[in-house]
Subunit: 481 residues, 2 copies
Amino acid sequence: MQIENLLTDENTEKAAWEALEKSILYYQGRPIGTVAAYDESVEALNYDQCFIRDFVSSALIFLAKGRTDIVRNFLEETLKLQPKERQLDAYKPGRGLIPASFKVVLDNGEEYLEADFGEHAIARVTPVDSCLWWIILLRAYVVATKDFSIAYQPEFQNGIRLIMEICLANRFDMYPTLLVPDGACMIDRRMGIYGHPLEIQVLFYTALRASRELLICKGNQDIVAAIDNRLPLLCAHIRQHYWIDINRLNAIYRFKSEEYGKAAVNLFNIYVDSIPYYELDKWLSRKGGYLAGNVGPSQLDTRFFALGNLMAIISDLATEEQSQAIMNLIDERWDDLVGDMPMKICFPALEHEEYRIVTGCDPKNIPWSYHNAGSWPVLMWMLTAAAIKTGKVHLARKAIEIAEARIGEDEWPEYYDGKKGRLIGKQARKYQTWTIAGFLLAKELINDSSHLPLVSFDKLPPELVSRACEFEIGSVDPHSS
Amino acid sequence: MQIENLLTDENTEKAAWEALEKSILYYQGRPIGTVAAYDESVEALNYDQCFIRDFVSSALIFLAKGRTDIVRNFLEETLKLQPKERQLDAYKPGRGLIPASFKVVLDNGEEYLEADFGEHAIARVTPVDSCLWWIILLRAYVVATKDFSIAYQPEFQNGIRLIMEICLANRFDMYPTLLVPDGACMIDRRMGIYGHPLEIQVLFYTALRASRELLICKGNQDIVAAIDNRLPLLCAHIRQHYWIDINRLNAIYRFKSEEYGKAAVNLFNIYVDSIPYYELDKWLSRKGGYLAGNVGPSQLDTRFFALGNLMAIISDLATEEQSQAIMNLIDERWDDLVGDMPMKICFPALEHEEYRIVTGCDPKNIPWSYHNAGSWPVLMWMLTAAAIKTGKVHLARKAIEIAEARIGEDEWPEYYDGKKGRLIGKQARKYQTWTIAGFLLAKELINDSSHLPLVSFDKLPPELVSRACEFEIGSVDPHSS
């Protein structure tokens, strides 16, 4: 690399840090989060809020840099926003939910936090991922600070417990997966991800792993037992039923349908004509594979979704072989999945009638734009973490170089459009915080891979033992670690 | 009507009764249900089972005829199949579920009942409607026998309570409706009815009404309060957000999209291009209206679903005006909705790409066949009950006459295909029990409308008072009424 380039890169990083600083949200004098975007050229709409899922990227880079106070403040304040009582009013957020976002509101000179659980959101989507990300972040804070005491506080134990209760509640479903409506995660618009979408299942698994580490067993025996029971079932279910590689595709291709009874091989009754076999025959590389986007009755969504696949590697939900195959696929289908801006949120786009029917004609999600196969720089940190975990650091390095060449000059857009990601997103904000944080975090991870354990997990131990199992709720002094 | 026709009709009815008798399932010497079909010409597959939703039609005609023992036996035996303990294994049916079906199995000369909660079903669909129908049928039994004591037994109180707990469980969703996967009801295959489909919401409402009448308040205060709270919210939600008539269509047609915040009018962010406005402009009669099939983020399914609309009238979920408008629509769009066999399960069919994408290329649900706008005679009893409730008995009479002219000769098929319903269903069983029972029940209702209260409800009282509120659980002698 030439000195000139080096200087540009340094400048880009410096500019990123400056922009990230500007995005910090203060509440009663303390930093408690980051606003979604700090773009002075357009009206704020809801970009003046701190979104839980967006803040995770900022939080992780803050943790890596030792700025743990903002993350602690965030965790404490958002925990206060979680409803603790059972709500009888069906329009009120249920007990245990963590909001999608919050903002600081000034009323009569007093600051207070206003939470949004989807009541204000466009199309009123339910933020299922918020509470999962919240637990994952709490565990990252504990890993970074080596201070378990925050999690052992009764309020935090209760918070984790309430989230687990809502996730593990008795239900109609007979799968270990979580049933959600469309748009319940990062893709928060109708995109055919109702039912059991990969992203939610992977975050659910990761949150279960994190909860298992953090929950004090005494007093939580029921929840801990439920987690211990669910983890291996969920893990096996995803590894088996969501996996697609050329061998699996061959098996599916020859499925019989309409099988009745316990011995059915085509468990979900997938019909041969619903799968784009001949496309996949060409696209799936020999050593590549990935986890499908969604599995349900007569439904196998063969789109590649980046967040779910990358987080499955990071959280150890995918097997070692599957993780390698996912990274192989990204490598061998680089033009499609990374292109000129890492990386595609999903691939391929829904087009033509499929776009019309599945998205409900969403003008923001036209093919190759926004959630419909747009490119999202925030995913770079997950790509990097997955690359480190699988020993393919060169892929992450290549991706970061591609981004670095333009992302600062483009003023950190929320997303990019087009088949190769060379168009700045049609309605993208500039100075989108998680674009900035995602870039910085990717750089930080590649420079110092010792940060990986903030988000990664080792193999699911055959006998799950939580560090907290020796304690009783309330017996831990929150002020000692 | 001429004497010849009268005789034919009498013969049809006689044949129906004979066929119904043959379908009765015996367990340890007692009648406990009816098998799905008694067609000697084909292999049984799963038609030798008693499906909970199918048996409701048989049960109601048995109740009308004073043969209450079989219904009582059914309720008692299915209650025993309901899991009472919290299941840690995610693949086991959850506490409170009622199976989709059961059959009598002989093992070493001993009879026992084997339940199916969807584990054996094609595509492993979850039978959400079973537990709702079970409560509705229990209440019908109580209405028919005027014997509340069965419901006041501790086992039954517990059974109702467990079903209510699963329905009213804490959840992510912030609507009063019930979130379900695709195919969770009579349409038990993928048909775009994931999320909040009308049929489930109407049965949920009806089951809430029934539970409220049957639950002993003391000891169930939490559940009773939750029901009292949910009922008016659910009712208002469906009446407002699912309703489609020409005025409402005009409002939707001029919706703005992408509204953010509490003041949004287009609450679900429906996009103008996703609605077949110009078709509906022609099809919606001036005085007609109906409840939409499904409402969710950027989703308004404008298909007409018969069961949901008819049961909404019967259960008083639809307003008086809405009920009249639904019956007007059926009258004015008779050719589409009734045609030559009452009546279409939904209208219109999903065709072309929409069929391919929404059903996953289901070869059984091709356009104008089976669930995809096929005609189902069982719906005749609901059409009749709705017609009686709205004072439009002549419509029911006309429908029954149409069916009577051929249904016996056609040997009671499960369903009919085609735009007018003149093709016997491609894969329809003959002697399908709920076809037979639905016909007999329709006849019985029209002859003696005093049976209507078996399934119908009056207006939701402003102050809900359950007859059982004076009792305590366990304090009622089950042997006195």
